[in-house]
C-alpha cells in the first residue's frame, strides 16, 4: 500500500497556535495565584510588622524584659530556634517569625504542588491537557516552575521589606534568599513525591513527612549541642545555619540551591519514566475484599480516618517523643548557664519545675497540628461531596445530620487519640532519660488542648454548613490563626485586647498550672455552638455535586 499519494493531513491548511507550553504555564499560574498571593502577603506582612515595631518594643523596659524571658524559655528555643541576634531588629525578627514563616511557606509549597500536579492528574483533567501538544515532562516542569515563582517572589519581597525597614541589606538578602530557597526545595520535594506515587494523598503525605522530619532535625540540632551537625542535613537547619544578620553565611544557601536543583531534576527524570495516571510505585490491581468497618456511616468514617490518623500519629508521636527525650538536656543546659538561668527563672522555669514547664508550653502548641488535622479531615469530607464520591451514600436512607454527625464524632475521636499519643510519647521520652513528668500530668497537659481542637473542628463544621469552599481555611483560623495572632501580638507589644482574641492566650500551661476551667468551658461552649450551627446549615443547603 502506498501512502505517498494521500493528501497531507488536515492540519496542512491550519496554522498551529504558537506556544502551547505557555498556555500550560498560564493554567498552572491560575491555579496557585490566589493562595500564593495570600502566603506571600502573610509572610512579608508579619515580618514587616515585627521589624517595624522592634525599636518601639525594646524602648519599653517591661516589654523588652518579657521578650528576654521568652527567649530564655527552653520550649520557645526549641520551637523558634536559638535566639542569636536579639539585639538587632533583623536578628530579632528572624528568630521570632523566621521558623513559622518558613514552615508556612514549605507547607503551602507542598500542598500547592501536589494539588496542581498529581491532584489534577487524579481527577483525569490532565488526560485532556496531555492529549495536546505538551508532553508530561514539560507539563510537570511548567507547573513546578509556576509554583516556584511564589517562594522566589516571597523571598525577594521579604528582603525588600527588611531593607525598607532599615535592617542591614546583607542580612535581609540572606534571610530572603534562605526563605525563598527553602520554599523552592519543598516544591521540588513535593514534585518528586507526586511523580513517585500514583495518587495525591500519599504524595502529599510523604512530602509533609519530609518537612516534619527536617523540622525535627533542626530542633535536635538547636537543642542538643553535640548533635548540632544534623542541621546540615535539613533545609530548615540550613536556613538557621545561614544566620541572617549575625553570621550571614553563604555556604548553607548554596547547598539549598543545589539540593533544589538536584531534586527537581530527579522529579523530571521520574516524570519521563512513568505513564500518565501512573507512578513509579504501581498500585495494586486486585485484592480480596476487606469488609471490616463498612457496616454503617460511622464505621465507614472510622475506616476512612484510620490511614491519615496513622500518618499524623507517627509524625506527632515522633515529635513529642523527641521533645520528651531532649527535655532534660535542654532544660538542664539552660539551668547550668547562669546567664540563661536567670532568664528562665523569670519565665517561671526553675528547679524541678523545668521539665514540666517545658512540656506545658509545648503541649499548648499541640492544638495547632491536631486542630489542623480536624480541619483537613472536614476538608476531605467536603472534597468527597464535591467530587461526588459521597453521592451514593447521600442517596441512602441516612439523614444529613447523621452523615455529618458521624464524621464530626469520628474526627474529634481521632483528634483525642492524637493528643493522647502526644502525651504518652512525651511521658515515655522524659521517663527514658530519667526526667520528672508523670503520665497523668502529661495526659492532663495534652487533653487541656482538646477544647481548642474542638473549636477548630467547630469552625470547620460551621464552614461545611455555610461556606464549604473555605472549610480548611476557616477550620485553621482558631489554631493556626490564633497562634499567629499571639506571636505577632507579643512581638509588637500589641494591646492586651488584641492578644486575648487568640484562644492560645486563654490556654493554661497545664501541667505547670491547673486547668483554666472558665476558659475551657467558654471554648467548649463556642465549639458546640459552631458545630450545631454548621449542622443546621448542612441540613438545609444543596449538596455540591
Amino acid at each position: 500500500m502506498s501512502t505517498g499519494i494521500l493528501p497531507s493531513p488536515v492540519t496542512a491548511g491550519l496554522t498551529l497556535p504558537p506556544g502551547p507550553g505557555r498556555a500550560v504555564t498560564g493554567l498552572a499560574v491560575r491555579q496557585i495565584r490566589r493562595g500564593g498571593l495570600v502566603v506571600a502577603v502573610l509572610i512579608t506582612g508579619m515580618t514587616a510588622l515585627v521589624t517595624a515595631t522592634y525599636a518601639q518594643v525594646m524602648a519599653d523596659p517591661a516589654a523588652a524584659g518579657s521578650l528576654q524571658a521568652l527567649a530564655g524559655n527552653p520550649a520557645i528555643r526549641t520551637l523558634f530556634g536559638s535566639p542569636i541576634g536579639l539585639d538587632t531588629a533583623g536578628g530579632f525578627t528572624v528568630w521570632r517569625v523566621g521558623t513559622f514563616t518558613a514552615v508556612l511557606l514549605g507547607a503551602w509549597a507542598i500542598l500547592a504542588t501536589t494539588r496542581i500536579t498529581r491532584g489534577e492528574e487524579d481527577t483525569g483533567r490532565w488526560d485532556v491537557l496531555l492529549a495536546g501538544r505538551v508532553p508530561l515532562r514539560d507539563a510537570v516542569l511548567r507547573h513546578v516552575t509556576a509554583v516556584m515563582i511564589v517562594p522566589v517572589g516571597t523571598g525577594c519581597l521579604l528582603a525588600g521589606v527588611l531593607i525598607a525597614a532599615g535592617t542591614p541589606a546583607s542580612g535581609a538578602v540572606v534571610h530572603g534568599a534562605g526563605t525563598g530557597l527553602l520554599g523552592v526545595v519543598f516544591v521540588a520535594v513535593a514534585a518528586l513525591a507526586a511523580q513517585v506515587f500514583p495518587a495525591r494523598s500519599p504524595a502529599t503525605g510523604t512530602a509533609v513527612a519530609v518537612l516534619g522530619v527536617t523540622l525535627l532535625l533542626r530542633m535536635i540540632g538547636d537543642g542538643v549541642p553535640a548533635l548540632g551537625w544534623v542541621r546540615w542535613l535539613s533545609p530548615l537547619g540550613l536556613t538557621a545555619l545561614s544566620g541572617p544578620f549575625v553570621h550571614n553565611r553563604g555556604l548553607p544557601l548554596v547547598i539549598l540551591a543545589v539540593a533544589a536543583a538536584v531534586i527537581t531534576l530527579a522529579a523530571l527524570a521520574a516524570a519521563g519514566r512513568r505513564e500518565i495516571r501512573g507512578g513509579l510505585v504501581a498500585p495494586a490491581t486486585g485484592r480480596r475484599p476487606r469488609l471490616g468497618l463498612l457496616g454503617g456511616v460511622a464505621a465507614f468514617a472510622v475506616r476512612r480516618v484510620l490511614r491519615p490518623l496513622t500518618g499524623w500519629a507517627i509524625g506527632i508521636g515522633a515529635y513529642y517523643l523527641l521533645i520528651g527525650l531532649t527535655a532534660v538536656s535542654v532544660t538542664g543546659f539552660l539551668a547550668d548557664n547562669p546567664a540563661m538561668a536567670g532568664q528562665a527563672a523569670a519565665a517561671g522555669f526553675d528547679g524541678l519545675g523545668a521539665v514540666v514547664g517545658f512540656a506545658a508550653v509545648l503541649f499548648a502548641i499541640l492544638a495547632m497540628p491536631v486542630g489542623g488535622f480536624t480541619a483537613v479531615r472536614m476538608g476531605a469530607f467536603v472534597a468527597a461531596e464535591t467530587d461526588r464520591r459521597l453521592t451514593l451514600l447521600t442517596a441512602q436512607p441516612i439523614s444529613r445530620a447523621r452523615l455529618l454527625g458521624a464524621e464530626i464524632a469520628v474526627t474529634m475521636g481521632a483528634g483525642t487519640v492524637l493528643t493522647t499519643i502526644a502525651g504518652i510519647a512525651t511521658w515515655s521520652g522524659v521517663t527514658t532519660v530519667g526526667g520528672d513528668l508523670g503520665l497523668v500530668a502529661a495526659l492532663s497537659g495534652v487533653w487541656n488542648t482538646l477544647p481548642l481542637v474542638g473549636l477548630s473542628l467547630g469552625a470547620a463544621v460551621f464552614a461545611t454548613g455555610w461556606a464549604p469552599r473555605w472549610v480548611s481555611v476557616i477550620g485553621a483560623v482558631p489554631t493556626t490563626g490564633g497562634f499567629l495572632l499571639l506571636v505577632v501580638a507579643e512581638s509588637v507589644a500589641a494591646p492586651d485586647g488584641i492578644r486575648e482574641l487568640s484562644p492560645f492566650a486563654h490556654l493554661a500551661a497545664v501541667p505547670l498550672t491547673g486547668v483554666d476551667w472558665p476558659a475551657t468551658a467558654a471554648m467548649t461552649g463556642l465549639a458546640v455552638i459552631l458545630t450545631v450551627a454548621g449542622i443546621a446549615g448542612y441540613r438545609r443547603r444543596d449538596l455540591r455535586s
Binding site: T391, Q396, P397, S399, R400, D542, L543, S545
Partner: protein, 297 residues
C-alpha cells in the same frame, strides 16, 4: 388509592436568576417505568436532585411515596439511585463498595446481587480507581437493581455501557417491572426509552412540555403515509392535519398526518387506493421535532 411513587407539585429551582426548573408537576405511578427526556441542560438532573433531597427546592414540593423528599432518612427507604456520573471511593474495591451500599441501603437481595455481578461481568476484586466509566456505572447499577426498594431512580445509567451490557440493563429493568418496582429513567438513549418505558415526560428549558404514553405521543405527532391509487389523485391539500403532500411516482403519494387520521382516510376513499402504508414516528423523530427546530427555547 396509594400514594404515587414520585410526586412533584409546582417544583421550582432557581440558581440566582437562572430558573433551572419551573413549576414541575408530575406523578409517577407505582409499578410503571417512566422515561424522563430532555436535551442537555433542560433540568433533568436538577429534577432528580430535588426528588432525592440532594438539593432544596426554591418553591413547590416533592414526595416519594407520600414522604417529603427532604426527609431523606425516610424517603430513601423506598428508593435506590444510580447517578449520571458515578464516582466511587478510589481505594475501595467493587466488592467493598457493594457491601457498604448493602449495609447502609434500603435492603438488598444478596443472591440476586451476585447474579447481577455475573451478568454484568463485573470484576469486584479491583480497587475502584482502576475502573473505567462503564465499570463504575455497573457497580452503581448492580447496587441499585439488587435492592428491594420499590422505586429505582436511574439518571442516564447506560451512557458508558457497551451494547451487550445495554441488553443486560434492559433485562434488569424488565425484571424490576415484573417484581412491581417503579423505575424513573432519565436517558438520552431514545431507543432504550422506547423499548422499556410505559410513559415518558419531556422536559424543555426547565418546563415539562408533555407527559404521555409512547403510543399516545406517536398519535400526537406526524405519521408518514404512503398510498398507491388507481383512480383520480385524491385532493389532500385542504384536509385537516395533512401536510407535506408529495407525488413520489406514478399513482403514488406520500404525506404526513398529525392527529386523528379520519379526514384523510375519507379523502382517500374515492381514489381507488391499492396500497397503503403508515409509518409511525420513532421517539427520536418526536424528540427532534420537539427540540430540533426550537433549539434553545
Amino acid at each position: 388509592m396509594s400514594a404515587p411513587a414520585l410526586r412533584a407539585v409546582d417544583l421550582t429551582k432557581r440558581y440566582g436568576r437562572l430558573t433551572a426548573l419551573d413549576r414541575l408537576t408530575l406523578d409517577v405511578r407505582p409499578g410503571e417505568v417512566f422515561g424522563f427526556l430532555g436535551p442537555n441542560g433542560a433540568g433533568k438532573s436538577t429534577t432528580i436532585r430535588l426528588l432525592l433531597g440532594l438539593a432544596r427546592a426554591t418553591a413547590g414540593r416533592a414526595e416519594v411515596y407520600g414522604v417529603d423528599a427532604g426527609d431523606v432518612a425516610r424517603a430513601h427507604r423506598s428508593l435506590a439511585y444510580v447517578p449520571a456520573d458515578v464516582a466511587l471511593w478510589p481505594q475501595l474495591t467493587g466488592a467493598e463498595i457493594l457491601h457498604l451500599q448493602a449495609r447502609t441501603g434500603p435492603g438488598t437481595d444478596l443472591v440476586y446481587r451476585d447474579e447481577l455481578v455475573e451478568r454484568f461481568g463485573l470484576d469486584l476484586s479491583k480497587p475502584a480507581r482502576t475502573y473505567s466509566t462503564g465499570n463504575r456505572q455497573k457497580v452503581a447499577l448492580v447496587a441499585a437493581f439488587a435492592t428491594r426498594a420499590p422505586l429505582l431512580v436511574l439518571d442516564e445509567p447506560t451512557s458508558g455501557l457497551d451494547p451487550l451490557m445495554e441488553r443486560e440493563f434492559r433485562a434488569a429493568v424488565g425484571q424490576a417491572r415484573q417484581r412491581g418496582q417503579t423505575v424513573f429513567l432519565s436517558s438520552h438513549q431514545l431507543a432504550e426509552v422506547e423499548a422499556v418505558c410505559d410513559r415518558v415526560g419531556i422536559l424543555r428549558a426547565g418546563r415539562l412540555v408533555e407527559v404521555a404514553t409512547i403510543g399516545r405521543l406517536r398519535g400526537l405527532h406526524r405519521s408518514e403515509v404512503t398510498v398507491s391509487y388507481s383512480g383520480t389523485a385524491p385532493l389532500l391539500s385542504t384536509v385537516a392535519g395533512v401536510e407535506s403532500v408529495e407525488t413520489t411516482g406514478d399513482g403514488q403519494l406520500r404525506f404526513t398526518v398529525t392527529g386523528p387520521p379520519a379526514p384523510a382516510l375519507r379523502a382517500l376513499a374515492d381514489a381507488g387506493i391499492t396500497a397503503l402504508s403508515v409509518r409511525e414516528p420513532s421517539l427520536e423523530e418526536i424528540f427532534l421535532e420537539y427540540y430540533g427546530t426550537q433549539a434553545g427555547r
